[in-house]
Amino acid sequence: MTIVLDILSWILLAGGSALLLIGGIGLMRMPDFYSRIQAAGLTDTLCSIMILLGLTLQADSIPLAAKLLFTLLFLMFTGPTAAHAMAKNAHHDGLEPWQSDAGGGSSKR
């Protein structure tokens, strides 16, 4: 039984780590703010879910597991909300999305 839980949690942790790295690379390599927030904001939520669930499977007591699940719940509320607010604020501020053809490249690095 424990070996099943272990394997499941390892799969979750490995998947979460992969998503983390993908998000990090996206955050660094994407050409403008909106695509960066896409990369970071989307992977953030799923990798938090996977890593915290993986840790919950390793928890040895009920209160610890409950606290990890609470952390997960709060992250699921705050993460997307913050991403939404940042994107909306940037749009409100007049930041133009980057376009691959000429023009509109105000925020291109």
């Binding site: 709060f74 509320f77 705050t78 909300t81 939404h84 607010a85 909306k88 604020n89 409100h92």
Partner: protein, 144 residues
């Protein structure tokens, strides 16, 4: 100007949770990390986020600046009062074990009370600082 409707809805859900978690940190400080200082700051953070999204005036109606000023002295006075109480009961200043017949229970009781005093002072002080900074900007904006 309805920019922050999502933030307002989510924050309204989260503010009670922050307040409850602050109380947990305050009164669970004997068993897990935490205590008055951390709890006071978290308590203030809940009020700050409400003010950020609903306006300073709304928060000051719930927690007037005068109350914050009085409570920031009140917490410290509660702490000192515990010290004098122990002296009246025949111990040294802040020697909690004279508070209750059982030594351990007395110590625990004294620690809980003074942590409450610390928490009240820190929360009230942090909130007054926030009022000072935010209120000044509101005044300036109205004056322009």
């Amino acid at each position: 100007m309805n920019q922050y409707i999502v933030l307002r809805v989510v924050s309204r859900l989260l503010i009670p949770v922050i307040l409850i978690f602050a109380l947990y940190v305050q009164f669970h400080g004997e068993y897990s990390p935490g205590g008055g200082f951390q709890a006071g700051i978290m308590f203030t953070a809940a009020f700050v986020v409400y003010s950020l999204l609903f306006g300073l005036e709304e928060v000051q109606r719930a927690f007037p600046p005068v109350a914050a000023h009085v409570l920031s002295a009140g917490g410290a006075l509660l702490y000192i009062a515990v010290g004098y109480a122990t002296m009246l009961l025949g111990g040294n200043f802040l020697e909690y074990k004279v508070l209750l017949p059982n030594d351990q229970a007395g110590e625990t009781f004294g620690i809980i009370v003074i942590e409450l005093g610390v928490g009240i002072t820190v929360a009230a002080v942090a909130l007054s600082l926030y009022y000072s900074f935010a209120g000044r900007f509101v005044d300036r904006e109205a004056g322009d």
